[in-house]
Each structure stands twice: as structure tokens, then as C-alpha cells.
Subunit: 149 residues, 2 copies
Amino acid sequence: MRFNDFRAGQVLHCGPMKVEQADIVGFARAYDPQWFHTDPIRARSSRWHGLIASGWHTCAIAMRLICEGPLKDSESIGSPGLAYLKWPAPVRPGDELHLEAEVISARPSSSGRTGVLNWRWKLLNQSKEIVLELEATSLFELSGAREDV
Amino acid sequence: MRFNDFRAGQVLHCGPMKVEQADIVGFARAYDPQWFHTDPIRARSSRWHGLIASGWHTCAIAMRLICEGPLKDSESIGSPGLAYLKWPAPVRPGDELHLEAEVISARPSSSGRTGVLNWRWKLLNQSKEIVLELEATSLFELSGAREDV
């Protein structure tokens, strides 16, 4: 999508993407090697009743879906941050995740050179449980200007 | 650290960790395949003046440092979310990152079974620029209880 195609109130749907146990363990070994992300046997007898994905892995999956969806062929140049982030339920091996992105606002910066998009992402599993919710700001390059980040 | 070792006002230091270009490109290809994370040549002539890491990769690096530091041998059982997250400056190939984690509060849940830690993470590069700042809640298992997440 192009920046000018975003409209407040739009709800964009992305995915689904299936999460494999090997991906959960692989990500966690690299970045978040806590036992409930890496050790299926220990995780089974824990309060989690099985392996769960790193919350950061869940975020990375959401980003992949956003890149393949709304940001594809866009003028995206990055993000300054998130207003909040929640991990209300865990992601488990075999989960099929899809993402709903609701546009809160889309407006040019005061210089007119940068598009500023505020949107709320909800990542849901196959039982429609929210596994990730966040509000992000994304920036878009609206001209050849190079110095107005 | 154990949950009982966290005290409001503590500042915990983690790292450093060096970020390689291959890691930046590898993470981005898997999860955030935008050209300014994957294509050093195109990135060079952009407003970013070179390749920058995915913000989610930056988060993952911070988590790795936290796992190797304060969460090592802790009773950590995960996190419900973040109050906010900022990416004030980009991470570039060759950067050496270290993390400062300031404890805001550490208290047991009303049941007494879960430790609730609120802390602010600041990830800084070798020039002491903040590349990531967030406020997280982390949970800790204080007894054999299994059902009070």
C-alpha cells in the first residue's frame, strides 16, 4: 500500500501464518533462552502447560505479516516506537496467527515530507484469542527529502 | 538474580554485545524484510546513510542481554507487556550495545505467589546514544503455585 491509501478506521487483515515448534525454539535459543521457550518437557509441567513463544518472537511474526501485507511496496522508512504493547495470551507450537491492523490516524508531518501513521495491531490465534496487541507509529517518505526523520 | 534481590532504584548493567551486519540482514530477512534492513547498497544512499537493524531485532538483542544478566537463574515466567517502547536512534553494523535496566518497583502480587517487577530498559550504543527504551513488567514464580498467571 502507499501512504495515501491509509485511512482512519480502516481494518487491514494479514496472514495467517503457522508457528512451528522449531521456530519457537530457534528464535528463543538466539535471543530469549528461557526454559519455557526452549525446553518442551520442562514447560509441559509448568504453569504454561507446554512450550510458549518468546513475546519478542510473537512481535517479529506480526512484523513479518505487516511487511507482507500493508507495508508491501509502501514508502515505509521505519518507526519511532510504540505507545504500548500487551502479550495477553501465549503463542504455542502449531498456532495459526493472523493480524488485524486498525488505522487510528494517517497524516503528513508539518514539513509535508514524512507520512505519520498511527495504527493498532492485534495478532490473534486460531481460537480468536489476542496474543499480541500494540499501538505503533510508522513513518513514510513522501518526497525525495533525506533529512527529516 | 532472584526476585527478592530486585530493589526499586537499582540500575543493572548488561553487555556489551557487538552487532554484525550478517545478523542484521539475517534477522530482517526472516521477520522484517524492508530494504533498509536487508540491502546495504540501497540503504547507503537513503536518509539512513547505511543499513540499520530492525527495531524488533534491537528488542531481541536487549532480551538476550537481560537473559544473560538479571534474569539468569531467576524465577522469571514471562511478561504481560510494555508500558511504552521507543526506538530513538538506529542500530548499525558494528555497534557495541549495552543495556541499563532501572528497577521501578518490585512487589509480590496480592496472592503472594507471583513477583511483579516493573523496570525501564535503556539500550545504548558505543557513543552512549539510546537506541531502545522501554518500560516492561516481568513476572516471577514465588512458590509452587501453577495457576495464578
